[in-house]
Symmetry: C2
Subunit: 402 residues, 2 copies
Amino acid sequence: MQMTDKFASLATDNAPGQELRQAAGNIGDLICGESIAGRLVDFSHGDIDAFLPTPGAFDRFFEAIAAGGRQAYTEYRGSADIRAELAEKLATFTGAPISVERGTIITPGTQGALFLAVASLVNQNDKVAIVQPDYFANRKLVQFFGGQVLPVTMTYMGGGSEAGLDLSQLRAAFDVGAKVFLFSNPNNPTGAVYSEREVVEIAKLVEAYGVTVIADQLYSRLLYEGETYTHIRACGVPEDRIITIMGPSKTESLSGYRLGIAFGSPSIIENMEKLQSIVSLRAAGYNQAVLHTWFSEPVGWLDERIRQHQAIRDDLLSLFREGGIASRTPQAGSYLFPTLPPLAVSQHDFVRLLRHQANVIVTPGNEFGPHHDSVRLNCSQDQDAAIAAAHRIVTIVHRYLD
Amino acid sequence: MQMTDKFASLATDNAPGQELRQAAGNIGDLICGESIAGRLVDFSHGDIDAFLPTPGAFDRFFEAIAAGGRQAYTEYRGSADIRAELAEKLATFTGAPISVERGTIITPGTQGALFLAVASLVNQNDKVAIVQPDYFANRKLVQFFGGQVLPVTMTYMGGGSEAGLDLSQLRAAFDVGAKVFLFSNPNNPTGAVYSEREVVEIAKLVEAYGVTVIADQLYSRLLYEGETYTHIRACGVPEDRIITIMGPSKTESLSGYRLGIAFGSPSIIENMEKLQSIVSLRAAGYNQAVLHTWFSEPVGWLDERIRQHQAIRDDLLSLFREGGIASRTPQAGSYLFPTLPPLAVSQHDFVRLLRHQANVIVTPGNEFGPHHDSVRLNCSQDQDAAIAAAHRIVTIVHRYLD
């Protein structure tokens, strides 16, 4: 693969958070009507000024500074004490044991964990099954290492109690030699949670074909009322063939500390640590201490956070549906992935117009696969601001209907 | 390249800081004499409890937490405000202009910058000229991306005012097609600083052959009395073909924050940012604010730090030389790379014996190239503890003489 090809697939211009670097360009010819005033809402990521970082996070950081060198220079895979604590908590949360000494690695964000896991498993020409839609970096990571993406459709708008993964397509991908299956659950961007039946079927297929699984469960704690979650690592996949990835950047609003964790297969984690030694050495030493707060939040804190997000989710869904914009009801996480009605402008231009005329930032759906009629919103925002912005989205959509 | 080969070259067992993970193994058969009591000194990295982080660093972190989302979610290449400030300071320091908007990227440590730079420039089968000895990750990085290392000898024990780089070997590497030259200045592990003549000759060769340079200048601020430093980026290398890497982890003891910066070629930095978006997203947002302190330390702070390190350097050099252990006098940085006399045990076993019998950790020389008779010491330690440990090193060396 040529260097230019390698980096062409990494286009970041429309990636969440990169809007600052977008040239304004000429959208003058496209503009209809006046701008709609309103406070900027950046739905590309959560607003941690609206949903504050976990109580006590900063205190643990402060203690780490006081601890000095011991905390600044941890093993590359992260502080042994903190990993031991996390192994216990995450084994309880996911319902399957974790090797304390060999089964965990702390990384700079879950992005760091994903990168190391893919790099440790995907080589030139390896086939990797990837869900469509799914987190935009999944495809890019596989392509960067010269792997071949085999897309597997998720019919997330189908309704019902399943995520909608096409299991026959997944089997077909394994039939033609996919060696890795990489997926997020809850799904990013749709908020779909895989049913127990789907997870068990995936686990059976993985087992039968000798495939390795990377399960990105970043949002699995923010589970809405009445929903159930099945951890694939507790469904019989052999320990050495599964890596689960989580982190406190989203639900817990700790993104500014850049912390993630991968757990599971000791042999994969050993390679991930070797690679981390040349990628970034380790997650920032002091920051690691913030993980003490994770899964140890004050009683009721998580329930309240879920309740607040669910309220915003429901408000936005109602507004969109009344405005003729369809959306799956997310079962977990803070993303909405509405389907826009046919517009007279391209998705790319719609996103720019929305920003220019309505002070609202959303992420284009085609960052997540060939989803040219969708946009993603992270609803972890100030509730009033989010509702006002959703009204503006509906207005702008109607203004540019085909 | 097979996956197993790809990771075999990343062995981290003897890497600095990984000693915790080394199995004790059986060294019982090798042991001569009693253990020598003394406080543990870990020369594998600097002791930030002896040399404290820059004054004000934590205050800037605290302000960043208070700033909230704005500081947590920066551009992938880092906060625009902080990069603008750094571009100005680093242009002054290095004597050549830096593009404020397009010429800088903040990374998780200088390791992060090195990884991104090599990944952006080295593809399968590309030839890369690397100095021997030099920082251990350089070789590993090139090999991980399937590149071919062309070693260039530095005769660092030659004395005189030059680092001792074999410029004819460098030219020969360029003659056979090396497209990248990656080197640290001051050299890690020897502390050699390239003379103005050497740097200018490198710059001329690079220009003549169209080679791209990655200059790791991590330690270039800790320059001992009477020494001069020449920045290669100010020596006529075209802007688009040089990346300089620095960071506040060493001289400034800020390693626990994991911060580095790469500056220079806008096109290379654009690719580095694209890659950072899938590797770790960004250097931890709050941590980036600590860079405000860099090159803005209290008056006299750097001079005093240099003076203190020079005193330890001189004490250790005297002790080693009196004990029959030769060493180049480092001109910058805090590393010593003494040559041990012929021993009856292997380098690997000597390092283990030293730890077991004398409570002293050093890094084996063969981490830096084929240097089986050397060890590296980071002298950024408590002065008394370092002197006591150096005495123990001399004793153990004499105990195991061939």
